[in-house]
Amino acid sequence: MERIPILKMGEFLLVTIQVDMHDRLALTLQDDLTGQIVKHRSHGVLIDISALEIVDSFIGRMLASIAGMAHLLDAETVVVGMQPAVAITLVELGLPMRGIRTALDVEKGMTALRGALLEGQDGDTSSIR
């Protein structure tokens, strides 16, 4: 069966979406990813969509729900590598994906994740005090 690979890179998980998404695949991905987050106790997820030429409302919603699930499991999600045409389409569709962090490429996404995690830790310590 078709599966989207999830790579572990240090404390983060890297998901590269290179095929057309459909319902079954999205459900499998959500299953796998939540499992992996818990298994590796990851605090960050990078979703690379640079290979996607077409993003519709379905994928937009899927990304949002993955981010939501990851957040529940205490992991930050960053969507990286969106094509300019895709970004324009999403905005025109009225799906600006407000809740999701974005970055230009995997490298920048990694930096953003580290920054977010540091911020989160600061937040935790201050709340303890």
């Binding site: 969507v79 990286v80 969106m82 300019p84 895709v86 970004a87 324009i88 999403l90 905005v91 025109e92 600006p96 994906m97 974005t102 970055a103 230009l104 490429d105 920048k108 996404g109 953003a112």
Partner: protein, 293 residues
């Protein structure tokens, strides 16, 4: 009808000189004052037109001006009116070039058929139809040329007005000038996003100093651009908000609270520098050896 139309070429043959002279006179009387060179040009054009009209009439005097015999006349008129459109003649001046031909021809017909009212009426009707059609053709060509000019200017404007400037490593500026409509927003957005990918920038400053009016639509376009840039992982700042525009935005109830806004490009640049970890220090105030950044 076929018998009566066949007379027209003969009239032209016989009275060409007379018609042309009267026509030229007529044009000069009705039009604006022309310089000597312009008058010569108009004379030359008129004579040429009469000649080609005559030969077209000789070959086919009935059945409108769409036939192949009339190609010469049509081309001449289209060429003339498009040239006049580019030279800034008014539509009235251009159209009256053809319409002022009516009177000379009518008077020639009058002399020819004065004794035969029915023939005169028939011929007059034929001439009216012909001249009207030529006049319409002229106006159409004039209009078309003008539209082409407008289209070209629009395209040039679109290309001219959307530069993306690199201010610093990772910082882009997008100075917007002129009103933002949907088509321009699309171009602006595309340029900005491509520049973000190319330069791997983290910050984009949209400067709206040159945008004369910000209404809800323009604000919506701005927000769309900001959202698209954010999806690409770049932070957008909006700068160059003039006092009146700040008032308009609030009166309209546009919510720009999600975007960092600054009054000047300098302020926005400062914010972008600080957020990306740069610092601007005066050289003489800094301790010895400190870098200018």
């Amino acid at each position: 009808m076929a018998t009566s139309t066949s007379k027209l070429p003969e009239v032209f043959e016989k009275r060409e000189q007379e018609i042309t002279d009267q026509w030229v006179e007529q044009q000069q009387a009705t039009g604006r004052k022309l310089t000597a060179a312009e008058r010569d040009e108009a004379n030359r054009q008129s004579r040429e037109f009469i000649r080609s009209l005559k030969s077209a009439l000789k070959q086919n005097s009935s059945g409108g001006i769409s036939g192949p015999e009339w190609a010469g006349v049509r081309d001449f008129l289209v060429d003339l009116s498009s040239r006049r459109a580019k030279d800034g003649y008014s539509p009235r001046e251009t159209a009256s070039f053809v319409f002022s031909l009516k009177q000379p021809i009518f008077s020639a017909l009058q002399k020819e058929f004065g004794a035969n009212p029915k023939a005169l009426a028939d011929e007059t009707w034929q001439v009216t139809l012909l001249v009207d059609e030529l006049g319409l053709l002229t106006t159409e060509a004039f209009q078309k040329t003008r539209e082409e000019v407008i289209m070209r200017q629009q395209k040039e404007l679109l290309e001219l007005s959307t530069p993306v400037v690199r201010l610093w490593e990772n910082i882009l500026a997008l100075p917007l000038i002129g009103t933002l409509d949907s088509a321009r927003t699309q171009v602006v957005m595309q340029n900005l996003l491509e520049a973000i990918v190319q330069t791997r920038s983290d910050y984009a400053i949209i400067d709206i100093t040159g945008v004369p009016v910000v209404d809800t639509l323009v604000a919506q376009h701005l927000l769309k651009t900001v959202a698209a840039a954010r999806l690409m992982g770049a932070d957008c700042l909006i700068s160059g908000i003039r006092p009146q525009i700040a008032q308009t935005i609030i009166h309209l109830g546009v919510d720009l609270s999600e975007v960092t806004t600054k009054a000047t490009l300098a302020d926005a640049f400062d914010v972008a520098l600080r957020r990306s970890g740069h610092k601007v220090v005066r050289q003489d105030a800094a301790p010895s050896g400190a870098a200018a950044r």
